[in-house]
């Protein structure tokens, strides 16, 4: 019987924190055979990444691992640093979730690719550069010679991830560990990167250990799957078995995590609340004496009308201008064009002028970690808008409204005395929604409110948004790159690309019969990843 490439035996990872020891991984065993693709799946906090960090000697300073991680029989956990350095980057390589920050911003791509080649392979500068160029060609980066001299910030996220893959392949590894390699990327790019990985594996024959929170993307990709939850293995088996016949409720939940339900269109005569006419936002400045023209039309003449009770979904890849559009409609950044709210022109109003509309036009942001002040209690955060817009309320009335708002979003009213850091991402997003609904707004612009959340939590937030929409008769502008979520929540969809709307219409029509090639490509990458990968492989 062949020996596994990697064998993890009862690994435990503990972090020494101010609140005592945290057991991130509590005894997990797994193995990877030569040429095999193994997926480790779990939601955030399940410990899946920490196993690999421990194996590679990359744990944070306060972390410690016990057990064994054997690479072809050699235990990596007890290996001296120098010996470990001979393996990592050469025989075992890694790509990370954050393509934007995983490369050193201060050095050219060629130089960074050459480093592991020179350190492990002993190549000369010239030979390393020649090999780096081959690698860039291998990962299908357009114009590879120019890219050797480019800096990371001059490349897109997808291109940077390709560079990371090139670096991972540089020394013909036995095992490639890919830690959420596509999570930070657009769906179309995600499909391309997965295709590339599958293709390279077929050609080069290394094993791949693929870590992800999204079970659905590994179906076409993995031979075997390990499902992790709270530091323990929940289920393991072949991909066929896991997808065909999941045993545990948790795995079933992960598989069924695709948001479901639809939203019915509003009546055609429902009153128009918010109307935008030829809205434009331009960044940068025009050419001057000494400078080039740096203008970018982020939003280039978009019109929309939002009716009462309606949800307009705005989809598009990163950089398409969808968030900018949302902010422009609420006058959160300078925009041209007419914006009319309930018959009154609000386009071009300054901050003071907008203040009396702010309670009716609310916004919820993507990042539930950054958008709540860490030094205020949840109660203070939620109540803050009230003290501006309804200053006449007494303390007791205000408190009652806060408790009501927290109750509306499914949080314990007693949570109002706690601070944001005590809550999970999903709970924080509920706080952000409570902060918006407490003012009884007419319109809420939701900017990727579910993107930073695990699928299971995402589902709860979607249910919540749906419920309060009916309860309070809210209208939403729902901005997301996640087509499944948009399909579940909106009754009208606008597809954006490079600042313009390429296609729009009722949700059923856009998803049922997309007209534009761009929309179709988005749909394929989002919903038919498996067939897309098989088609490519086949």
């Amino acid at each position: 019987m062949t020996q596994p490439v990697l064998e993890i035996d009862d690994i435990r990872v503990t972090f020494d924190t101010a609140d005592g020891d945290v057991n991130a991984v509590r005894g997990v065993s797994m193995h990877v055979m030569p040429g095999e693709t193994v997926a480790v799946v779990g939601e955030s906090g399940s410990g899946k990444s920490q196993i690999m960090m421990a194996a590679m000697g990359l744990l944070a300073g306060n972390g410690a691992a016990t057990g064994a991680v054997r690479y072809r029989g050699t235990d990596l956990l007890t290996l001296p640093a120098r010996k470990l350095n001979d393996l990592r980057g050469a025989k075992i390589t890694m790509i990370f979730q954050e393509p934007m920050t995983s490369l050193d911003p201060l050095y050219r791509i060629g130089e960074q690719l050459a480093e592991p080649l020179r350190v492990h392979g002993g190549l000369s500068v010239k030979a390393a550069m020649a090999r780096a160029l081959e690698l860039l060609e291998l990962v299908q980066i357009p114009n590879p010679e120019a890219k050797l001299r480019a800096y990371p910030h001059e490349m897109s996220g997808g291109q940077r991830q390709r560079v990371m893959i090139a670096m991972a392949l540089a020394n013909d590894p036995d095992l490639l560990i890919a830690d959420e390699p596509t999570t930070a990327l657009d769906v179309t790019i995600q499909a391309e990167i997965l295709q590339l990985l599958a293709d390279l594996q077929a050609r080069l024959g290394m094993s791949i250990l693929f870590i992800t929170h999204d079970l659905t993307i590994v179906e076409a990709f993995a031979d075997r799957v390990y499902v992790m939850r709270q530091g323990l293995l929940e289920e393991e088996g072949t991909a066929q078995a896991i997808f065909g016949n999941p045993q545990t409720d948790y795995t079933k939940m992960l598989l069924a995590a695709e948001p479901d339900g639809v939203k019915l269109p509003v009546a055609a005569d429902a009153p128009v609340l918010l109307q935008g006419d030829d809205v434009r936002v331009t960044f940068g400045k025009a050419a001057g004496w000494f400078s080039k023209d740096t203008t970018l039309r982020a939003v280039d003449g978009i019109s929309l009308s939002l009716r009462k009770g309606q949800t307009i979904g705005v989809v598009g890849e990163s950089g398409s201008g969808k968030s900018t559009l949302g902010r422009a409609l609420l006058q959160l950044l300078p925009a041209e064009g007419r914006v009319v709210y309930q018959g009154e022109q609000i386009g071009g109003l300054d901050r003071a002028g907008m203040r009396r509309y702010r309670d009716q036009l609310q916004m919820v942001f993507q990042d539930p970690y950054g958008s709540l002040s860490p030094r205020m209690t949840v109660g203070e955060i939620v109540a803050e808008g009230l003290s501006v817009h309804e200053p006449e309320l007494s303390r007791a009335e205000r408190d009652a409204r806060v408790m009501q708002a927290l109750d509306d979003v499914g949080l314990e009213p007693s949570f109002r005395n706690r601070f944001p850091h005590e809550f999970s991402g999903g709970q924080r997003q509920r706080v952000a929604i409570a902060r918006a609904v407490i003012l009884r707004p007419d319109v809420i612009v939701l900017d990727e409110p579910t993107s930073a959340l695990d699928r299971s939590v995402q589902k709860q937030v979607i249910d919540l948004l749906r419920r309060i929409q009916v309860e309070y008769g809210l209208s939403y502008i729902f901005i997301s790159h996640d087509l499944a979520v948009v399909r579940a929540l909106s009754d009208y969809v606008m597809v954006m690309k490079e600042g313009v709307v390429v296609e729009e219409g009722p949700t059923a029509q856009i998803f049922g019969a997309p007209q534009m090639e761009y929309t179709r490509a988005l749909m394929r990458a989002a919903f038919n990843l498996k067939s897309l990968l098989l088609e490519k492989a086949g």
Binding site: R88, M94, L133, E145
Partner: protein, 321 residues
């Protein structure tokens, strides 16, 4: 395969850098003009004049002196005359050191101060970076706490305490170094150390903080995951990024160091420019004060420009616009 040299982009970059530097220096002219104007009138608002002495001069003598130096003219005319002379590079005569012109005083003292300050600057950069890096690599260890303690000490103990102590111990008690003057190379050691000590402390603290952050960054994790040697990771990938905040600090610090320190120059008996700053102001030596103000302002402008250019060299994301 093209050679991986500084290719076409660099030519482009250098052109941009030059045009940026020229624009910045041209942009500094209004600033300097404002500083000269403000300093000129503030100096005149201060009570007293260059010829006030313990015993008042005879009225005719004073009038003669004022006439000789043009102080009998209306203030606006004096200002215009000063600007006109300045535009021709003439900073005028000193009112107190009567046989010297201001630029001659500067020409004698400034090189000495710049030499001393330059050495202190270099010492602070090298030693401060080394201490800060070592502390960051051994975060929360005895070494780290030791560096923090030394740095806190260096910042809190003023140099009018440090300098005499150094002098007493190393020059008078042990007789390792000369006690004053600048007669031989050993004479530089104590004043440079005294001058550099607080700067070493600040640089060490800045580098330590930035280094800790850099060592935690994703790209350093990548470098570790790819088995690069620790030395390479620290120097190439962490220190370069960690230098940036220290460099921002060094701009204004360099301007201060190179224009001399009255305390150090007095204690070690060094004929630098620092003492003229204070004496000129106390004596109401109008032209000397103006001269020193212009020198300091120029240094600040130039060093801030150097900092910005260095930033752009070290960090390709910084663009000149």
């Amino acid at each position: 395969m093209p050679p991986l040299s500084w290719g076409g982009t660099f030519q482009f970059g250098r052109y941009h850098m030059l045009s940026y530097a020229i624009r910045r220096l041209l942009g500094a002219i209004p600033t300097l003009f404002f500083i000269v104007t403000a300093a000129f009138f503030m100096m005149r608002v201060a009570p007293g004049g260059p010829f006030d002495q313990e015993r008042a001069l005879e009225a005719t003598v004073l009038a003669n002196l004022n006439a000789t130096f043009g102080l009998d003219q209306p203030l606006w005319r004096q200002y215009l005359i000063y600007l006109g002379n300045l535009a021709q590079g003439d900073m005028g005569p000193s009112f107190v050191y009567r046989d010297l012109k201001v630029h001659e005083i500067l020409a004698i003292g400034l090189p000495v101060s710049m030499k001393l300050g330059g050495m202190a600057l270099a010492l602070a950069m090298v030693v401060g970076s080394a201490l800060g890096s070592v502390a960051a690599l051994r975060q929360n260890s005895a070494v780290d706490y030791g560096v923090i303690a030394i740095a806190t000490f260096g910042i809190t103990i003023p140099n009018f305490v440090v300098a005499p102590v150094l002098l007493l111990v190393f020059a008078l008690y042990f007789d390792f170094f000369p006690a004053g003057g600048l007669t031989q190379w050993q004479s530089y050691i104590l004043p440079v150390i005294a001058l550099a000590l607080p700067q070493i402390a600040v640089v060490a603290r800045l580098i330590r903080g930035a280094m800790i952050e850099a060592l935690r960054s994703d790209h350093v994790r990548t470098a570790r995951a790819y088995g690069l040697p620790t030395r390479m990771i620290v120097i190439k990938h962490a220190l370069r990024a960690a230098c940036l905040p220290a460099i921002s600090y060094m701009g204004p610090a360099a301007a201060a160091l190179l224009t001399g320190s009255i305390v150090i120059e007095q204690i070690f008996g060094i004929p630098g420019i620092g003492r003229y700053f204070v004496q000129g102001a106390l004596n109401r030596d109008y032209t000397l004060v103006m001269g020193t103000v212009i020198v300091v302002a120029l240094f600040v402008v130039v060093f801030n420009l150097i900092v910005d250019l260095l930033y752009a060299v070290l960090d390709p994301r910084v663009r000149y616009d």
